[in-house]
């Protein structure tokens, strides 16, 4: 996402509605957070939007938007048995032009972290192709909950990083659009007449107030020095060892590759995987380098807050708090990291 000069424009509420309609009309896949009520419970899913009215403007979606560029199951290869031989068929990722509309700024920032690992050495064709076809229109947050911690990881509720367009709510309705990339500019052109030039300095609705709980910049050093600290065992006691945190995480990119075949043909699939699952590192011989849940919990923390900064000069976390909300036993990452920052010298 090539950053250009940030263009500032405004949109009325009805203009946003018209923009979403224009995007859908243009044949793009428009995905955004939506409130779903089912079996008496509310949740927010990232799903195809039919109109702006569908959009959940506050609150965090359960799942992240990463599925748009890194689907939970994708085909890498297809093959057919031909006698003793194999006919390999390459696979082109099907990726319709996609707009992630109205996602939170933390989600938008996550794509850089995904890219850091998936493309650091060689380019991942599937991920790259999908990412190249994706435009991110984020809406700044005016609410934060007890799991949110973007301000602890170097961001803020109205951070425009990673967004092609960031929409900030105006105090008296409508939005300020910060158009940061050429891809964002393309949407402006598509929504002809929807965006208005800025007449005067706009009065923004206040962004969510979220005090930092710790400073992630201090973590790499602290973690590096305390790999064997009892804190990791203590924190992981209640961890059940499922993959809920990793699968809802917008930056978790670990995956598995699995073959599925019948007697005539088969396919090679990439599926999400998680370092929290025991099977992740288990060798066929039975040897497991991370045999205990505490080691796996530590790996998750270290991967994001020590190894990523060391290797990719970026955190592997955007502070969205999805992991904490999804955790069946309320492993609150913000609290755990704050504890680490506080207690590790």
């Amino acid at each position: 996402m090539v950053a250009t000069m940030v263009d500032r424009l405004t949109l009325s509420d009805s203009a946003v509605d018209a923009l979403v309609a224009a995007l859908i009309r243009s044949g793009r896949r428009v995905l955004g957070p939506q409130l779903v009520r089912s079996q008496g419970q509310d949740r927010i899913d990232i799903a195809p939007l039919a109109s702006f009215a569908d959009l959940a403007r506050d609150g965090q979606a359960v799942a992240s938007a990463k599925g748009a560029v890194f689907p939970k199951v994708e085909r890498l290869l297809h093959y057919r048995y031909a006698g003793k031989s194999i006919e390999l068929a390459d696979v082109e990722p099907a990726s319709p032009p996609t707009v992630l509309f109205g996602v939170r700024p933390c989600e938008a920032r996550a794509f850089a972290a995904l890219q850091a690992v998936l493309n650091w050495d060689s380019e991942d064709k599937f991920f790259s192709h999908r990412l190249a076809n994706t435009t991110v229109v984020a809406i700044s947050c005016t609410e934060a909950d007890a799991s949110c911690f973007c301000t602890s990881v170097g961001s803020r509720p109205d951070d425009g990083q990673g967004s092609d367009i960031l929409l900030c709510r105006l105090a008296h309705g409508g939005y300020l659009a910060k158009v940061a990339t050429s891809r964002g500019q393309a949407l402006v052109e598509l929504g002809q007449g929807v965006f208005q030039a800025l007449a005067a300095e706009p009065e923004l609705a206040p962004a969510a107030a979220l005090a930092p709980a710790f400073d992630a910049k201090t973590l790499p050093q602290k973690l590096a020095a305390h790999f064997d600290h009892p804190l990791w065992v203590e924190q992981s006691l209640r961890c059940l060892g499922c993959g809920a945190c990793a699968f809802v995480c917008p930056t978790c990119a670990c995956f598995s590759i699995e073959d599925e075949a019948d007697s005539r043909q088969g396919q090679r699939l990439r599926t999400w995987d998680s370092c929290g699952l025991r099977l992740f590192t288990l060798h066929a011989s039975g040897h497991n380098p991370r045999d205990r849940q505490s080691q796996r919990w530590r790996q998750r923390v270290y991967h994001k807050f020590a190894y990523y900064p060391d290797r990719f000069q970026t955190l592997g976390c955007v502070g969205c708090g999805k992991c904490s909300r999804a955790c069946p036993v309320d492993m609150n990452l913000k609290q755990h990291l704050a504890e680490a920052a506080r207690t590790l010298p």
């Binding site: 003793k84 990722p93 690992v117 790259s128 995956f255 590759i257 995987d273």
Partner: protein, 281 residues
Amino acid sequence: MATTTPNSYKPYLMRIAAITKEAPGVRTFRLEFADAGEGTAFRFATGQFGLYSAFGEGESTFCIASSPTRKGYIECTFRETGRVTASLADKDVGDIIGFRGPYGNVFPLERWQGKHLIFIAGGIALPPLRSVIWNCLDLRERFATMTVVYGARTVNDLVYKHELADWGKRPDMKLVVTVDPGGDEPGWTGKVGFVPHIVEQLAPTAANTVAIVCGPPIMIKLTLPVLAKLGFGKTEIYTTLENRMKCGLGKCGRCNTGRSFVCKDGPVYTLADLERLPAEY
């Protein structure tokens, strides 16, 4: 819209040219490129590995066990352990399997020029060293003395039995083969004893010498102190790791150990490198 980026997950198709049964459950495949053009263009260096596919079952990671000085084919040696290796073990000569690679870093042969080399291997861990041993033998004049210490549980568990016999006869190298106590059999002319003890008895000089160690964790654990006592420096001891992997490309996260991706920064590490990593391998 087709992308121009190649699909890194697409393997070469390889024809099994020969199968050698090495030991119970252990086989060596000689693999030739089904597409001769791909074979001609293919390059690798000793120490590297690949992902071998049994189509329908998945991929498994093994080193390339042959030397890059031997052109036109690659070899791999594996033990039937899981889903993929069981399927590979069922294959016949002429069957097609997949191969992605070469991946990972290499043994720095140019650094070893003029030095004495001692290779220490245990059990099924000889294959990664076999590549570099042959590589060095094929460039024999570049190195000082070459010694191979190889141990297995029993005589039957020794791999590359024919090559061991040949190596044993070569005047330009020294081969010491040992089996665990109780693993010998009538007519066994090699040593009996654990690898670390044999190395201790052998007492190779550490001066101007590089040790390349590969074997089960317990063998490595007990051999390293012996080498330290003999005066080997931590940058003069090499090993090669085999973490579980899915991609081989530094993406899937499975082999991640500390800041290292074993598939990219490894599999070859010096002891000095290894001590900077958490012991999660």
